[in-house]
Symmetry: C2
Amino acid sequence: MTGTRRRGAELEATILDAAWAELAETGYARLTMENVAARAKTGKQVLYRRWANRAELVIAAMRHHSGSIVQDVPDTGDLRRDVLTVLRHGARRQQELGTATIRGLMADLPELDPAFFTQMRDVMAAVLRRAAERGEVDADALPDRVVSLPMDLLRHEMLMGRAPVPAGVLTSIADDVFLPLVRRAT
Amino acid sequence: MTGTRRRGAELEATILDAAWAELAETGYARLTMENVAARAKTGKQVLYRRWANRAELVIAAMRHHSGSIVQDVPDTGDLRRDVLTVLRHGARRQQELGTATIRGLMADLPELDPAFFTQMRDVMAAVLRRAAERGEVDADALPDRVVSLPMDLLRHEMLMGRAPVPAGVLTSIADDVFLPLVRRAT
DNA sequence: CTCGATAAGAGACGTATCGTCTCTAAGCCA
DNA sequence: TGGCTTAGAGACGATACGTCTCTTATCGAG
């Protein structure tokens, strides 16, 4: 039995799984290219051929582990419920990664992908548009900052806090800040 | 002339100045204990005797460079102006440090000093209390989250953005989010 | 003024990881 | 079947960490 040598997509998937496992086991700070390569039973060069550095590898591993962030925008017929659903989704995602990983990535990445933000804002925009159609909010002329407000606050919470974001924070973002703001007649 | 050997506070100040200079020159990522020691013309051990790691040294250097964050709470007689003053103060502080340094610190610090947050929230609370006395806002029964909202959003902006926070962002935080929220009659 | 304790100044040291390079051989394609 | 690509494996020099060792300047007690 001479070794079956993996290639292309198969190899790539193995590496990304290995990276994800290392991430879960040791965390971002201690994740090394060497260990990922070892776990995937391949050489470092194979990693460097695909990703320029740790950060890119980890980003790729994240994407590989769970598809694009939000495909199904919630539509429960109630604005508050929709908002909380979006927030919970984000919070769960954070829990999977851990604060330390998120912070580490932020530090290593020279530039954050702007698509990441617009994506989340578009989700909220869709939720708000439907709420406007139902008459729950009075206008869709809301400033961009207001639209992205819930996710911005959640992100802030995820970055500053240590542990998983408590559920109370999510309801507070919705009830103390966002809903009073969008329900208000301008 | 046998060397004049520095001690105590004098030595410490020299080191912190060196750290601050290195920070400005090379940024947090490339700041090394070795270089700081070299610039201060001392040994690494002298640094490690005082600070456990890079992050602590840099924090100390920041504090040394510019005193406590806010001693003089603005009081212009106008809520909007006060809020913007606080925000500008924070933005200036960020500009001095640079986003990369802030992110690096966040990644390295296991735990953020909670005093940092309460401090900023207390500033906003003071500003709001005076506004309430003037009748600008209707109640001082505002949720904590609302009180810390402007600084939270600014912090989010500082962390996610690359360059110094544009002035328009500050006014947007005040005019699109904070003021409509606190002026509203509950 | 003298003596001992303390800590500065300087650098060696072992470890860890980086990112590059090199080499051999396996697997795909014509 | 022969050639081209690239996987698999590891050596390599560079950098920085954090610890340690050693000498000697400086401070404070007596």
